[in-house]
Subunit: 213 residues, 2 copies
């Protein structure tokens, strides 16, 4: 059966920003214990052996906290560790092939960065959309053009699936994204590499809760 999931505060782990494998594991543990509701492992330059080792530890760390681990792009790694699901981009394995490999019991998220990609989203095959970049971001070298809050709100009005917003979101600018209709926010640098992971996570959590109140 598919695990229930909560997009509210979605941490994307990046090796560079989170201090390598051990930094990612430590960050995930603290963040998941203090408000992060989902974790995605994204490491496009890693070899699979490194992927497998780190994903195995992350799953063991997150499972007792009830926080699902999603694997970015590498469906074989998700299968090997029996992850809760995957996140795919527009140039990754297509949703139909991804769902066929994973079966119905796993979470599949798809990135979308414009109205056409939202309209084309295969709602029967995937579970949520990652939409962005909402704000300018330096984290992802191949990011699409910035959407901006106004257009983002327009996109949310017609969203076919739950949406987690991504791109330049941090404490202080998360509330408007939730107010615009996002079901949650995804962050990398707003948690990874912060001097106090617990405070950074709680500040985001409180801002999201406040925007919903």
């Amino acid at each position: 059966m598919k695990p229930t999931f909560d997009l509210s505060l979605y941490l994307v782990l990046d090796p560079d920003l989170c201090g390598g494998p051990q930094g990612m594991i430590d960050t995930a543990r603290l963040a998941a214990a203090n408000g992060v509701t989902m974790v995605q492992l994204r490491a496009p330059n890693w070899k699979k052996r490194q992927w497998l080792e780190t994903a195995t530890v992350l799953k063991a760390v997150l499972a007792p906290l009830g926080v699902p681990l999603l694997i970015n792009d590498q469906i074989d790694i998700a299968l090997a560790i029996d992850a809760a699901g995957v996140h795919i981009g527009q140039a990754d394995l297509p949703p139909d092939a991804t769902r066929r490999l994973l079966g119905p019991g796993k979470i599949v998220g798809l990135s979308a960065s414009n109205a056409a990609q939202l309209a084309d989203a295969p709602v029967g095959l995937i579970d949520y959309l990652g939409v962005g970049p909402v704000y300018p971001t330096g984290t992802k070298a191949d990011a699409s053009p910035v959407i901006g809050l106004e257009l983002f709100a327009d996109l949310m009005a017609a969203r076919p699936l739950p949406v987690v917003a991504i791109g330049g979101i941090k404490a202080g600018n998360a509330a408007p994204v939730i107010a615009a209709g996002a079901d949650g926010v995804a962050v990398v640098s707003a948690i990874c590499g912060q001097p106090d992971i617990v405070s950074a996570t709680r500040a985001l959590q409180q801002e999201i809760a406040g925007a919903r109140a």
Copy 2:
């Protein structure tokens, strides 16, 4: 059931040396019709969508010729197209995880570049070893130290599984590798990018047959 396979003349397709996806497809078609016995798709920098598209075409081209297509490293792609098998390196998914994902009916090859890696080869989990570089090669940026013919022959004396030799092999230097005990030779630039794919393939095939006679 596991397909039978013949390591004699094993073509590794590289996007740079073979002229991109279409060049790889054209090369594979001509080479497989003229003596190549196995084809491996290796494209470490590709996104998965490109992998899926090219692997799908390659499988369709090679199947009528009875030449198995192996996928380098990306087990998810091999599963998605139901490839004949995979080839993994020492930093890729380990043989046990690879075999578990693929099941018993697929070919699994493993790279080994020294005596310790040959001795550690899990003979129950894999079907052949790719051993090299036998000669100096410019094709693989992260290649291991050159083994050389003399040490290669020593390694072959204790080989636990069928071996395809790789690394700098071309018409003119393939025969000594077969004479040293290899079951076949793997090539990239000796076929890919050659002005006459058919002649290049046949020259290698004849040299291998001659070394065995």
